[in-house]
Symmetry: C2
Subunit: 411 residues, 2 copies
């Protein structure tokens, strides 16, 4: 009786949020993936052999010896000032002239998305997303009670004509991963970038540019981030004059996701509002983590480290493309990303990737089925393969096993 | 023209949230406080001389040497399992029998409040708070679009008869800091604790028990946390049977706030929902920070460290009480906390603490005026003094200076 009474209380409370709180399929899957012997093409995890452990140790010792009290004490919400300064320098490599007032340090890129969502989305607002898109972002924006206007993509990225149709419905924002998109690995073409920046300006709709991967290019030429194109369009490349784009950056893929340090770039007035929000959300990102990240980036370490990451990822991407060519049966298609962590497989329409996954896990291979990346839950015949975590040898074995299962199913 | 057009876009977006996003007076003040020579009785900052820097260095080296790849990689949202286990052990010191399913590691105590707010508060809901209460919590719950039902307090804490009147208005939750309350330093009496737990049960209203300070007791006897009394009332002291209280814990005041590591304790089903929310908010709390905190707590280090903190805080509290007695003029009253970081000063009703602060800052003394701690913005003749950050010698000087200003103003 007592128990019923209690569980009623909580269930009543939960009913309020039940619709907006559902677990991420990929995170739940990651738990299964950590069983011994599993070859994981699932998570978007950086190559663990390349984590700069020694540099981190040296940085940690330096920070605690030289400025230990500062590292352990409350910091300011905006973030550790030298790290914000580093972000200004780092972004200048993409041709952006910022100052610190354009930068807010966040607890990873995901917090960046959540803060922006909390600032810009009112319950029931629609937002425009690529179809498919990062399922974690769908989860975050769902918590912020957004509805989705998914826009189709092709091998050059989101389709401008469809984007314009979506913009006419007055969404609260457009969420894009223009470079080495998650999950498809596709990069939005330079031509479309300009078109999209102009469209968003015309419809006065902010763009959220999520960019965790652009430094992980393994071939081809760099493409300007949307935030730079937007600034150029209005005759400004920085400072308070930045326009219509909020840029979400992170150290997760270029140093390590376990640190949970990322950043937001935007107009100073927007950064100010996001800072006030963050103050009430987690006060500030961990000072020790920020100071270690700052220390480890010194003396151009990060430039060299990213170069090593690119070399490793090039080998892995090539190993996967090569193995797919040899082991996957006709009728299955995949993207050929120029960088990042992922590629995207399209099965014949009658196949179901979730059923395939069940069989793959029996063969000790894991991937993420495509469906959770679609706001409209279509795409049951698609899947995402990550080439960043396993070694080239493991990739060969995993793709061979998947190929055998596919060939059997397609027979 | 172009500029007007842009700023219009952003202002339109902000108008939506403007009412719910306002900066924290105390955080803004902290910026002024960091000027050289300022004697700060303002922030709730632990004594910096006592940060266990060497133990942190050893822990950091150990973690990165032994489990560096794990520290740098994605972790699970629930938190680093050994740290959750430590929290279970740590809470057992307060007589609670938990298991890991009752614990979620958070990015500091503030994130705990925000997650609970996001789960339980719908826009426009009322919540019940002590008057005065922690201004950071007012800020967090304001972002979650709560209205406030402030309940008066006396020297034994919140007044049950007034609490019941508030509960009759069906608030979404009751937010309490029962031990060494921020800002007053007052501890809710054992008698009232039982009464309040029963009241909240009768009205089926969850209690959020924020408890950053209870381990910092410098005299008197420990009082059971509400979560334990609630569990006892329903004949259970742990596991999935925990009832109506969500407990917010943090390492900020017993190790260092710069780490941003805290925890939530509650019924397993509530923790599960909060975990799903956190997944979309920041994926997980930094793994490196969690592993360092876990490592440094080993071999009963934290027990000894907390003992050292208590000794230091006892000296500082005594220095402040002694100085107040000698330097403050008649007509000014203050609380005598048995622990924590703060005490609370009530000036004669005609005085304004904000005006006093302006004069105090000229004399290089800072404190926090009481008004922002009141949901109804009353209390302009109150102020909070922190005795944790300055040395006893600095406390003596600061209180003497404040006393002189007060004496002059009261003349």
């Amino acid at each position: 009786m007592r128990e019923n009474h209690r569980s009623l209380t909580w269930e009543t409370r939960y009913a309020r949020r039940a619709a907006s709180v559902s677990s991420s399929a990929i995170r739940e899957l990651l738990k299964v993936v950590q069983t011994p012997g599993m070859l994981s093409l699932a998570g978007g995890m950086p190559p663990p052999e390349l984590f700069p452990i020694q540099a981190m140790q040296a940085a940690c010792q330096h920070v605690l010896s030289e400025r230990g009290r500062e590292a352990m004490q409350y910091g300011i919400t905006e973030g550790y000032a030298p790290l914000r300064q580093f972000v200004v320098e780092w972004m200048s490599r993409s041709g952006l002239q910022l100052d610190e007032s354009n930068v807010l340090i966040t607890s990873g890129g995901m917090q960046g998305l959540d803060l922006v969502g909390r600032l810009l989305i009112n319950p029931g607002d629609s937002i425009t997303v690529e179809s498919p898109t990062f399922l974690g972002a769908l989860q975050t924006f769902t918590i912020n009670q957004a509805q989705f206007l998914p826009v189709p993509t092709d091998e050059e990225g989101i389709l401008p004509v469809h984007l314009e149709a979506a913009l006419q419905k007055r969404p609260a924002l457009v969420y894009l991963i223009p470079t080495f998109q998650n999950p498809t690995g596709i990069t939005l073409s330079a031509r479309r970038r300009r078109e999209i920046v102009e469209l968003a300006d015309r419809y006065q709709t902010p763009i959220i540019e999520d960019d965790p991967y652009s430094h992980l290019r393994v071939e081809g030429e760099e493409v300007s981030p949307l935030i730079r194109l937007d600034a150029e369009m209005r005759g400004s490349t920085g400072g308070g004059l930045l326009g219509n784009v909020i840029y979400v950056g992170t150290f997760s893929k270029i140093l390590g996701p376990g640190l949970r340090v990322g950043w937001l770039v935007g107009p100073a007035m927007v950064i100010r509002q996001l800072t006030i929000l963050k103050q009430g959300v987690d006060v500030h990102t961990g000072v020790l983590a920020q100071m270690i990240v700052h220390q480890v980036t010194q003396d151009d370490f990060l430039v060299g480290h990213v170069e090593r990451l690119r070399t490793a990822l090039r080998l892995r991407r090539d190993a996967m493309l090569d193995a797919l060519e040899r082991h996957f049966p006709p009728g299955v298609q995949w993207t050929r990303p120029e960088g990042g962590l992922f590629l995207w497989v399209t099965l014949p329409p009658e196949m179901d990737a979730t059923e395939l996954l069940a069989e793959a896990i029996e063969s000790k291979v894991a991937f993420v089925p495509g469906r959770p990346f679609y706001a409209d839950e279509s795409g049951q015949h698609t899947l995402r393969l990550s080439f960043s975590y396993p070694t080239p040898e493991q990739i060969e074995i995993a793709i061979e096993r998947l190929g055998k299962i596919l060939a059997r199913r397609l027979r």
